[in-house]
Symmetry: C2
Subunit: 375 residues, 2 copies
């Protein structure tokens, strides 16, 4: 028996427009080892917005379609068109993670029927999703779909930061744009595991969010004495690795310069190549799409700047590490890794112009959840 | 019996000047396990100029002293003073490598007396150098001091590039500013070892130098079709690692973008995170001291940009690898790793204003050698 459902789609077209639509899709009965899940909660993460809206000029928004099947169109500025060449004309489904209830199960997966599960794998901004049973995680009995909706991207990213730090021989972290949902989770994780964390925020309000979670080191990058305070915090914690979702501009370079200055405090002999303390900056997002500027003469030759994404990290770390991290997320789902959603919307509402402008802002402290069962 | 000699020194002073002088130093008889070497050849490498002249404004050159003991003074522009804070007031000896004859040997090192050796370890712009015998390399009988003078920095750097490429799983290289002495050596090494090498130069004359050595891929970054040719050469060779001594500007970013475009040619599915081909850029110099600009949105998230220096590389690779690479340099000293010097000068002549302006230019194809026995 086939199941009819909706799915949110994003298409960049040759004519320089980006279109959001709601497509009708038909799900066949699940094959052996597969389950069909009714999606009840899917978070709108920054990483989803990259695919959903990517190169679009939000100010050019035009709405169309019907109440049930709304559409939105945007212009893609000429300067951004080269970056979307590879997706032109493709109707892309969106939504990295979600949670819901198993409503049909193939051979061997019958034990999951009626159970609540969490999922990772794309196309979660939809009514239903068919997945292999090994790609879903059974939620604990007390967890709601909303509790399980965000159990992959942010928790595994926060755990991935700490795991990367340890594997690469560092003992403390710097985190930029630190008041995000992910940043709050990282602070809770570091507090629990006694890992020194230097948080960089952009307003006193953001700083207060982290201090309420017990953060010790919270620095406002807009403060006049930011640079000297950063050197002090790095010298105190010994942080030599940083994670930055902003990417554009000089903040990452400034962090490495501060690490070098902290290292120089204990140097006894001059070297024109700088200190022998290795400094690592990972860029894991593109909140600022401007180029990254490295004033590398200020931090010597012992450094590396790299892209970081959770999926390649997990692949590189291997299945045992991935399983260990996933188990920890389930164990601490409603404590360390609890997500707080400020607004829950239906699937069609995601294409409401005012709603879209709200979640597209990526305002600190705001987090949207899609519940397709609301319509 | 003490030995009196001269030593070139560079001092950055609190008053914003940099001074070059020739100091008198006394060498005691070598202790057990040590040798005293009369220096007969020491190359002026770009890495030496960084320490010798570093932040100085060359145009401000003022000469003084006597014919035997000349001095040179320079202004340090205010903008560069923070970068020299750690060396202020220190009289620094200069010269990373050299070769000469053992004229005195301590207990256990007598076998080296009268032998010609090569050395790494600083303070080679001098008449004599005392070193532990394990820090000198006996030259083959047919090798002159000039043959052995450059057997560490450039040869081990070229070998280090290839070793790094292999250890990190790449199969072909890109090299920028490729017509340098080092670049020519790298081309000879890659030709001998059948490693695909993409050379980037800045003039047709530089390109001709490399083609004469048998280079297949030589691209002029000032050519109108440079970018598309670079993508073609990278696609053909499969190069995913690059070494760049320039550092400033966008060339490194352009190389990674070309690697990403080459990778995209074989991608079957769109990913907003770019290709899954890992791209590595190593910056090993500062020919351009401007900031490094990374247009990272053009090359996805699978990349790393890092500083690279030969000494930390050898330390990380371990003593067995270092010994293997050193042996290869000795074996191919007058072939693969032969250096060509265009001018040989005495020690005092290094402080002659016209001579200094000549070696400070770092012109392609020019290479200066200091022979202190010439006065």
């Amino acid at each position: 028996m086939a199941t009819n459902g909706r799915e949110l789609r994003s298409t960049a077209r040759e004519d320089g427009t980006l279109e959001l639509t709601i497509a009708d899709v038909v799900h066949d009965d699940p094959a052996a080892g597969e389950v069909l899940v009714r999606i009840e909660a899917a978070p709108i993460n920054p990483s989803d917005l990259g695919l959903l809206l990517g190169p679009a000029d939000i100010a050019s928004l035009r709405s169309g379609g019907t109440t049930d099947r709304p559409t939105l169109s945007f212009d893609i500025p000429a300067s951004r068109r080269t970056s979307v060449g590879a997706r032109l004309g493709q109707s892309l489904s969106v939504g990295n993670e979600g949670a819901g209830t198993v409503i049909a199960a193939g051979e061997g997966a019958e034990g999951l029927l009626g159970k609540r599960v969490a999922m990772l794998g794309g196309a979660m901004f939809a009514d239903y999703r068919t997945l292999k049973m090994r790609d879903v995680v059974l939620l604990p009995g007390n967890a709601s779909a909303a509790d399980g909706a965000s159990m992959f991207v942010n928790p595994l990213t926060a755990l991935g930061f700490v795991e990367t730090m340890r594997r690469e021989g560092h003992k403390a972290l710097v985190h930029a744009a630190a008041a995000s949902n992910l940043g709050q989770m990282l602070q809770k994780l570091c507090s629990r595991d006694n890992i020194p964390l230097v948080n960089i925020v952009r307003s006193p309000e953001q700083g207060a969010i982290l201090r309420d979670l017990g953060a010790t080191h919270v620095l406002d990058s807009r403060g006049a004495d930011f640079r000297s305070k950063l050197v002090d915090a790095i010298a105190e914690t010994g942080a030599t690795i940083a994670f930055d979702p902003i990417g554009g501009g000089t903040l990452g370079s400034d962090i490495m310069q501060a690490m070098e200055q902290a290292a120089a405090r204990t140097m006894t002999e001059y070297s024109r190549y700088g200190s022998d303390v290795f400094k690592q900056l990972y860029i894991y997002g593109a909140l600022d799409t401007a180029p990254t500027t490295l004033n590398r003469l200020s931090f010597g030759f012992q450094w590396s700047v790299s892209g970081w994404l959770v999926t390649p990290f997990l692949q590189k770390a291997g299945p045992e590490v991935a399983a260990r991290l996933r188990k920890r997320v389930v164990d601490e789902l409603t404590t360390t890794f609890a997500s707080r959603f400020t607004r829950t919307i239906g699937l069609a509402a995601a294409l409401d112009p005012d709603v879209l402008r709200g979640y597209e802002r990526k305002a600190t402290g705001e987090k949207y959840l899609i519940d397709p069962t609301r319509g």
